[in-house]
């Protein structure tokens, strides 16, 4: 940008809060198409720095990372309707509800719905992959978890029951970190490849 001494003085006035552009400058920054000048490595380093800052502020980064929990929190935050979101993802409302409750394996959701999911929420693919893997583990281990759930559910006192049910849920989500058998990994790998290929083509 060609800048003379008067422009420089005006800029100082703006920076010092002595003059304003009535929001025009701020709006114009949003309208400009930024050029990708930062390397991927620099981006990653900055993201890690920010995550560390989040963690030191008492927030646990990555605490919520299953598809269901993510969808639910976004839907509540933006006051969206189940029907609206399910239509946008190309799923039936019942199908969507199962996804939102982490009851349906990601393998049973069509690849093009996952592509819509990624685009709708602007998810970087690696974040999406982690989310899907964790959801898959959660659903995979849920069956074996039913017995644990029944054990917790057997309490008669209502308050004790709700506390123990919460513990059960925590245990279940903790299991979402466990590795799944190799054949399940292969199926998931194929699905992720399909989604990635579809995204590249569009």
């Amino acid at each position: 940008m060609n800048q003379d001494i008067l422009d420089f003085l005006l800029q100082l006035g703006y920076l010092e809060g002595r003059i304003t552009t009535h929001g025009l400058y701020e709006k114009s920054v949003l309208r400009k198409q930024p050029k990708a000048v930062t390397s991927l490595a620099a981006k990653r380093t900055l993201v890690q720095r920010l995550e560390a800052a989040l963690a030191s502020a008492g927030k646990e980064p990555g605490a919520v990372l299953t598809v269901g929990l993510y969808l639910r929190s976004v839907r509540q935050e933006q006051s969206l309707d189940v029907r609206e979101l399910s239509t946008r993802l190309g799923l039936s409302a019942n199908h969507y509800k199962l996804v939102e409750r982490d009851r349906l394996s990601p393998l049973k959701v069509p690849a093009d719905s996952w592509q819509k999911f990624i685009r709708l929420f602007s998810l970087p693919f690696e974040v999406f992959e982690e989310m899907v893997r964790r959801t898959h583990r959660l659903v995979y281990f849920r069956a074996s978890f039913q017995t644990t759930l029944a054990r917790y559910d057997g309490r008669k006192s209502k308050t004790k029951r709700s506390v123990t049910l919460e513990q059960a849920a925590e245990e279940l989500y903790a299991r979402a970190h466990l590795p799944v058998p190799p054949e399940e990994e292969i199926k998931l790998h194929l699905l992720l490849n399909n989604i990635a290929r579809g995204l590249k083509q569009t």
């Binding site: 010092e16 552009t21 920010l50 989040l54």
Partner: protein, 216 residues
Amino acid sequence: MARIPNRQLVHELKSGHRLGCTHLVELYQDRLLGEAKRTFSVPHLDAEELVGDVLLTVVTKIDTFEFLRSDGDFHYWVMTIFRNKVRDYKRQRLITEGLFESFQETALEEEETYSSTEYEVMKSILRQYEAAVRRDSEDDDDTEHGSSKLQALVEALDQLEPWERVLLRCRALDVPYEEISRYTGKSARILKVYHARVKKKLVRILSERHPELKPV
């Protein structure tokens, strides 16, 4: 990649989602880096550090942010943090290297645009600002802030027509003529033609209203 709503981004950051950091970087890193380099002439490495500091402040102060009017509130909040960081950077550079030095090379070119008296008036404001910032940095209790030295400029701007003021302020920050045109109701072509004239007008008002700034 589609742009996510600010409310979603703020929600992610407030609830500690790692995704919020990724979205924030995607949305703002290149944008602010471009602004720091192009509009405020900050060198690349310094600009990278500055933008990192801006986003870090956003993350650490996110709990103090609230939407009051619209989804755009978040952007204005980020831009205010950015503006303050650029200001601090400029002040720091001024103390270590001096501001005026960067204009010595273009001085000859500018002498053709402005008369020597007009040029000296602007130099004088810049030097006064520089001196006040240096004093501020040495003495915390000093009530004479650097920004007050720009008062002469603000008063001269007030003498212009509203559209002229908007034109000068916005062009100094590289806002496109088309956007200024939408705000002022004057065509972009007319604004382009008048830009240099309005600049001259402002400098003339400055030198007339502030004879004390002229060289003796």
